[in-house]
C-alpha cells in the first residue's frame, strides 16, 4: 500500500514535470514565432491593396484581408509580436521595481517602509483608466503609455509579496548568522533574501503575463493603448468591431490570436506554480493579492 502510494506520488511528480516541459516548449514556440514574426509573415503586413480589401479567408490569405487589403495573418503575427513584447516588458518592469521596493522596504523598515507602502496604497486605489488616459496623452499615446499606466497600478502587488517574504526572512537564523559573519546589508539582500524570495515572485510574474496581455489589449480596445498605424491585437479588434457581423474574420482573427497567447502563458504559469508549490498555496490570501483581476 505504502509502496504503491509512493510510486503513484512519483508518477504524479513526473507528470507534473512533463507538463512543465511541454508548456515551456509551447511558450518557446510562441516566443520563437513572435520574435521572428516578420519571417513567418506570408505578406508584407503593411502592404495595401485596395482591390483585395475585406476578402474572406482563402488559401492565399488564410485569415482573410482587412479593409486596406492587407493580409490578416501577417497583421495578426505582427500584432501578436507587439502585444506579447509589451506584456513581457510590462511584467519585467513591475517585477523588478516591485521586488526592489518590497525588499528594501522590508529590510530597512521605518519611515521609508511606511512611505513606500502608503504610495503603494495610493497606486492601488487609483483607477488605472485615469492613469492610462493621462499618460497616453502625456506621451502622445502608443503602447508605451499603456505599459507605463499598467505598471503604475500593478507594481504594489509585487512589492507586497517581496516585503512580506523579506520580513519573514529577516528574523531567520541564517540571516542573523550572516550578519554576525560581517556581511553588509547589500550582501545580505543580494545573497540571501533575494534568492529566497524569488520563487513566489516568479510564479506570480509568470501567471501575470497572460492577464497583462489581456489588460493591454483591453486598453487598446478602449483606444487608450496602441494607436492605429501600429498593429496590435487589441486595437485591431476595436478597429474591426463594427465589422463583426459583416466581415467577422477581421475581429475574430485577432481575438483568437490573443486567446492563444494568453492560454499558453496561463498554462505555463499554472505548471510553474504547481512545480514550485504543489498545493498552490501561493494563491491563498495574505500572500499575494491580484487586485486588478477582472478589468482595467
Amino acid at each position: 500500500m505504502e509502496v504503491a502510494g509512493a510510486r503513484k506520488k512519483k508518477a504524479w511528480k513526473d507528470r507534473r514535470k512533463c507538463r512543465l516541459v511541454l508548456f515551456l516548449f509551447l511558450t518557446f514556440a510562441l516566443l520563437f514565432v513572435v520574435i521572428f514574426a516578420e519571417r513567418f509573415c506570408p505578406y508584407d503586413p503593411n502592404l495595401q491593396d485596395m482591390s483585395r480589401s475585406l476578402q474572406p479567408p482563402s488559401l492565399a490569405h488564410p485569415a482573410g484581408t482587412d479593409r486596406f487589403g492587407r493580409d490578416m495573418l501577417s497583421r495578426i503575427l505582427i500584432g501578436l509580436k507587439t502585444s506579447v513584447a509589451s506584456a513581457l516588458t510590462l511584467v519585467v518592469i513591475i517585477t523588478v521595481t516591485g521586488t526592489a521596493a518590497g525588499v528594501i522596504c522590508g529590510f530597512c523598515g521605518g519611515i521609508l517602509d511606511s512611505a513606500v507602502m502608503r504610495m503603494a496604497d495610493v497606486c492601488l486605489a487609483f483607477p488605472g483608466l485615469v492613469i492610462a488616459m493621462a499618460i497616453a496623452a502625456l506621451l502622445n499615446g502608443g503602447i508605451t503609455s499603456a505599459v507605463i499606466a499598467l505598471a503604475a497600478v500593478s507594481w504594489p502587488k509585487y512589492a507586497r509579496i517581496a516585503r512580506s517574504r523579506t520580513l519573514t526572512l529577516k528574523s531567520a537564523d541564517f540571516i542573523a548568522a550572516a550578519r554576525l559573519a560581517g556581511s553588509s546589508s547589500a550582501q545580505i539582500i543580494l545573497g540571501h533574501i533575494l534568492p529566497n524570495s524569488l520563487g513566489p515572485i516568479l510564479v506570480t510574474a509568470v501567471l501575470d503575463i497572460g492577464a497583462m496581455l489581456m489588460e493591454l489589449a483591453g486598453l487598446s480596445f478602449l483606444g487608450l493603448g496602441a494607436q492605429p498605424p501600429t498593429a496590435e491585437l487589441g486595437n485591431m479588434m476595436s478597429g474591426g468591431r463594427s465589422m463583426l457581423q459583416t466581415y467577422p474574420w477581421v475581429v475574430i482573427g485577432p481575438g483568437i490570436g490573443i486567446f492563444i497567447a494568453v492560454v499558453i502563458f496561463n498554462l505555463l504559469g499554472d505548471a510553474v506554480g504547481e512545480c514550485l508549490d504543489p498545493r498552490g498555496r501561493q494563491e491563498k490570501p495574505g500572500n499575494y493579492i491580484n487586485r486588478k483581476g477582472e478589468n482595467p
Partner: protein, 518 residues
C-alpha cells in the same frame, strides 16, 4: 455528484428561461396601438453639445430642430439656398435693416400664437445667453409690430438669414419658458414631453401643427452613443430608425427590409499644411502630397462608398461647391515627376527620396475620435510611400494641443464642418485668414485677405458664390489645404416607414413627413 451537476445545469437553464420569458410581445403590441417611432441617434448627448432640446443652450443645440420640436424663420433648400419657413418673406430696407414678415397661421405647442412679439422675445433671449449667436447675428435692435419683425444689425450682415436658420434660431415660446430638464416649446410637428439627458427624449404629436399632419402619435429618441450597439438595436427591432451607424454595418441593411437615405454634407475630411515647417514650405512638396493621395480609393474602399471625393471645402450640392474649383487629381506618376524636378531623388535606394542629405519625411498629425481619420492616415501613408515620401503618423486625442505647436507636425488631418449655415464665409474666417482660430498651419495669402474683405460686404448671393469660388481656388492653388472627402450622412430606417430624408445641412431629421406606410 453527477446528479448534482445535472441539477445545476437545469437551474441555470431555468434562470435563463425566466430572464428571457418576461416582456417582449406586450411591448410590440403597445407599439402597434400607439403608432410610435423609435429613433436611435449617436450624437444626442452632452458630449456632442446636445444635452437637451433647448436651442439656446450650448454651442450647437441641434436637437431642437432635428427632432421636429422647433423650426426656424428660414430654412435651407436642398441646394442650401434660403427659403421661408416660419417667415412668409423678407425685405432688406438698407444694409443694416431687415424686415421679416411672419406666417399668420403658426402657433407654439403652448397654444400661443407665433407673432412678432414672440419672435422678438425669443431672439432677445438668444443673443443674451448664446455667445455664438450674438457674434454671428450682431443684432442691434429688434422691433415687433403684429406679424412683422424689424431687425437692425450693428454691421452689414449679408448672411443674416443663413444665421437665423442655424438651429439656435429655432423659435421657442419664451413665456412658456424652458423647463429644468431643458425642454423648450416650439412650433414643430412634435412637442417634447420628457427628457433624460444623454438617454431618452419622448415626443408627442402636435395636434395643431400648421404644416400638415404629423405621421406618428409618439416618437422616442434614444441616445445610443455606440455605433455597433445602434446597429444591433436596429437589427433586433428595438429602434425603427438610426442616425450615425458605422459604415461597416451598412451591408446589413442594404435589403428590402430597410431604407437608406443619404446625402453629402459639408463635413469635410481635410489636411492642413504647416507653413512653418521647412519641408512643407516647399511648393513642390505640397503639390506632390496633393497629387499623391488617392481620394477616390479612400472613399470607395475604406468608406465603402459612403462619402464623396472632395475638390474644395464644399460638397457638390451647394452652388459654389464640388467641381466649381479645380485641384490636383490623384496622379502618382506626376507627383514623382514634381518631386524629381524639385531635386528630391532617392539616391540611396531605400524607397524614400532625399535632398541635400535630408530625407523626405512628413509628420502626419490626426486624431482617433473620428473613425475615418486614422483610416485616411494609413491609406495616405501607403500611397505616399509609393511616391517616395515617408509618413509617420501621430494619431492622438491630444491633437488640440499639438496642432497649435508649429514644431510638432507637418500636416494635420481633421474633420470639420465647412459650411454649417450654407454660407461660404464661415470656412474662410475660421480656417484660412490671419486671425482665424483654426488656421493651424499659419497660412497667409494676400489675395485671400483681399477677397474676404469684399465677401464680408457683399449681399448678393450669386456674387458671394462667385467670390467663394475665387477664394477656394486661391487656397487650392497654393495647396494650403487638401480636401479629401465629404461625409455622406445617412439615416437608415425600417421599411414600413416613410419620410425620413437626409438633408445636406444635417439639421432636419424628424419632420411632419415622417409617417408609417399604410
Amino acid at each position: 455528484m453527477k446528479r448534482c451537476a445535472k441539477v445545476l445545469v437545469l437551474a441555470f437553464g431555468l434562470w435563463l428561461g425566466v430572464l428571457t420569458g418576461c416582456n417582449g410581445p406586450e411591448k410590440a403590441a403597445a407599439k402597434e396601438e400607439k403608432k410610435t417611432f423609435v429613433f436611435g441617434d449617436t450624437t444626442f448627448n452632452p458630449e456632442n453639445e446636445e444635452p437637451d432640446v433647448n436651442p439656446h443652450n450650448t454651442y450647437a443645440g441641434w436637437a431642437c430642430i432635428r427632432y421636429g420640436i422647433g423650426e426656424t424663420l428660414f430654412r435651407y433648400s436642398d441646394s442650401m439656398g434660403m427659403e421661408p419657413w416660419l417667415a412668409a418673406g423678407y425685405e432688406i430696407a438698407d444694409e443694416l435693416t431687415w424686415i421679416i414678415t411672419l406666417r399668420d397661421d403658426v402657433a407654439f405647442t403652448s397654444g400661443r400664437k407665433m407673432d412678432g412679439e414672440a419672435v422678438k422675445e425669443c431672439l432677445e433671449h438668444l443673443i443674451e445667453v448664446h455667445d455664438r449667436a450674438r457674434g454671428d447675428l450682431m443684432i442691434d435692435t429688434i422691433t415687433a409690430d403684429g406679424q412683422t419683425v424689424t431687425i437692425k444689425t450693428q454691421a452689414p450682415k449679408p448672411a443674416l438669414l443663413n444665421y437665423l436658420s442655424d438651429p439656435y434660431g429655432c423659435m421657442i415660446d419664451m413665456q412658456a419658458g424652458i423647463t429644468a430638464d431643458g425642454i423648450a416649446v416650439g412650433t414643430g410637428p412634435y412637442r417634447a414631453v420628457s427628457l433624460v439627458s444623454g438617454e431618452e427624449l419622448k415626443l408627442e404629436k402636435n395636434e395643431n401643427y400648421w404644416n400638415g399632419e404629423p405621421g406618428f402619435e409618439e416618437i422616442i429618441v434614444r441616445a445610443i452613443s455606440d455605433g455597433d450597439t445602434l446597429t444591433m438595436a436596429l437589427q433586433s427591432g428595438e429602434i425603427d430608425g438610426a442616425y450615425g451607424l458605422p459604415y461597416a454595418s451598412y451591408p446589413l441593411f442594404q435589403n428590402e427590409d430597410y431604407t437608406i437615405s443619404g446625402c453629402a454634407t459639408s463635413r469635410a475630411f481635410f489636411i492642413h499644411m504647416n507653413f512653418e515647417s521647412p519641408v512643407i514650405q516647399e511648393a513642390a512638396v505640397r503639390k506632390a502630397l496633393a497629387m499623391g493621395i488617392d481620394k477616390e480609393g479612400f472613399v470607395n474602399t475604406l468608406l465603402d462608398g459612403n462619402g464623396y471625393a472632395a475638390a474644395g471645402p464644399y460638397p457638390a450640392n451647394v452652388p459654389f461647391g464640388g467641381d466649381a474649383v479645380k485641384t490636383e487629381g490623384y496622379d502618382p506618376e506626376g507627383a514623382r515627376r514634381v518631386l524629381e524636378n524639385a531635386g528630391w531623388a532617392d539616391s540611396d535606394g531605400d524607397g524614400i527620396r532625399e535632398k541635400n542629405g535630408k530625407k523626405l519625411e512628413i509628420r502626419w498629425l490626426t486624431y482617433p475620435s473620428r473613425q475615418e481619420l486614422p483610416l485616411l492616415a494609413e491609406a495616405a501613408q501607403a500611397a505616399l510611400k509609393d511616391i517616395g515620401i515617408a509618413v509617420s503618423i501621430q494619431c492622438t486625442a491630444d491633437h488640440n494641443r499639438l496642432r497649435r505647436d508649429p514644431g510638432a507636425w507637418d500636416v494635420y488631418a481633421s474633420a470639420m464642418v465647412t459650411a454649417p449655415t450654407g454660407d461660404p464665409e464661415y470656412f474662410f474666417t475660421t480656417h484660412c485668414l490671419d486671425g482665424s482660430s483654426a488656421n493651424n498651419g499659419r497660412y497667409h495669402s494676400d489675395r485671400l485677405e483681399e477677397l474676404e474683405k469684399e465677401l464680408a460686404e457683399t449681399f448678393d448671393t450669386a456674387r458671394r458664390g462667385e467670390l467663394a469660388v475665387l477664394m477656394q481656388q486661391a487656397i487650392l492653388d497654393d495647396n494650403a489645404f487638401i480636401f479629401c472627402s465629404h461625409l455622406k450622412m445617412s439615416m437608415i430606417f425600417r421599411a414600413g416607414v416613410t419620410g425620413l430624408t437626409a438633408h445636406p445641412c444635417d439639421f432636419y431629421e424628424i419632420t411632419a413627413d415622417l409617417a408609417p406606410v399604410d
